[in-house]
Symmetry: C2
DNA sequence: AGATTATTGTTACAGTTGAAACCAGTTGCA
DNA sequence: TGCAACTGGTTTCAACTGTAACAATAATCT
C-alpha cells in the first residue's frame, strides 16, 4: 500500500528552518534597505571589507569569505562603488585583481549597522535560555561547519 | 569612538541560519527538480493538498498552511494543474473560490516524494545526538512557533 | 618563447520573486 | 435595495538571482 502518511509541513525540519531563516533575514534586510538603502548582499560585502581591511582585499576574496558567488559580489560591489561606499583600486602586479576598501562614508555606514546587527542577534538569542543558546551554536557547528 | 569591532560573519547567527537553510533547501529542491520536475513551492502545495484532502481546499487555505503568499501559490497551482497533478473545481456557493485536489498522478508523485522528504529529515537529524535533536525542536518552537 | 590552461571579474540572458494593480464575486450595512 | 468594503485569485512590472559566455590577464608546461 502506498505511503499516504501526511507530511506535516509545520513539523518538517527543513521547512521550519527555512521559515525561521526567511523571517529573520527579511526583518533585517528590510531595515537595512529602508534605513540605509543597503541590500543584504551589500552589507555582507561591507562587513567583510571592514574585517579584512589591512591592505584591501579582492572581489574573489570577498566571495570566499561571504559564501556568495562572484557574480553576486560583483553586483554588490558595483552598487557600493556607485554609492561611494567602497573604492576600487587596481592591484599593482596583477591587473585582473581589484583592491577594495571602504571609504569614509562606507565606514560610517558600517559603524552604524554593525551594532544594529549585533542587536538583532541579541534579540534572537534573548528568546532562548542559556542552555538552548549553547545548543544552537553547537547544532550550527555540526550542521553547517564553517 | 566609533565601534569598529569587526563583525565576524561566520559567527553571526542570522547569517549562519541562512547558510544552513539555503544549503538544506537547495539540496532538496535540486533533487525534486531533477527527478520529478517539481519546484519546492509546488511540493509544499502538494503536501498540503495531500494532508487536507477531505473535501478539497482553496488556494488561500493552501497559502495559509504553507506560509507562502497567494501569488506564489497561484503560480505553483498553475504549474501543477498544467502538469495534471492537481485538478481545480469550482466551489459551489462561492464562485471566487476554487476547490483543489490531487489527481491520481499527483498522489503518485506525493507517495514517492513524501518518504524522500522524511529521509532528508532523518539524514539531517542523524548528524545530531539525541539531546541536540530535542534542543533543535525546542529552539524552533521558541524562535518560529507555528 | 609559444601554446595551453586557469583565474579575475563583468556582461547577457532567462527564470524567479514580491508588490501593487486588478477583476470578479461576496458581504455588510444604511 | 444599493453602495462600500472586503476577499479570492490572477496579471503585470520591476528587481533580483543563477548560469553560462566572455574578455583580459596570469600561470604552467614543453
Amino acid at each position: 500500500m502506498a505511503d499516504r502518511t501526511p507530511l506535516e509541513l509545520e513539523r518538517f525540519l527543513p521547512y521550519r528552518l527555512s521559515i525561521l531563516s526567511n523571517r529573520v533575514s527579511q526583518a533585517i534586510a528590510r531595515e537595512y534597505q529602508d534605513r540605509f538603502d543597503l541590500s543584504m548582499t551589500e552589507w555582507r560585502v561591507m562587513a567583510v571589507l571592514a574585517r579584512f581591511d589591512g591592505d584591501g582585499i579582492s572581489a574573489s576574496e570577498v566571495a570566499g569569505y561571504t559564501e556568495m558567488d562572484k557574480v553576486a559580489v560583483s553586483r554588490a560591489l558595483a552598487g557600493l562603488v556607485a554609492a561611494k561606499r567602497v573604492v576600487r583600486r587596481a592591484h599593482d602586479g596583477d591587473k585582473r585583481r581589484s583592491v577594495l576598501r571602504l571609504t569614509a562614508a562606507g565606514w560610517k555606514i558600517h559603524d552604524t549597522v554593525a551594532p544594529l546587527a549585533r542587536e538583532h542577534e541579541r534579540t534572537l538569542l534573548g528568546q532562548l535560555d542559556a542552555d538552548d543558546r549553547r545548543a544552537l551554536v553547537r547544532i550550527l557547528d555540526k550542521l553547517a561547519p564553517v
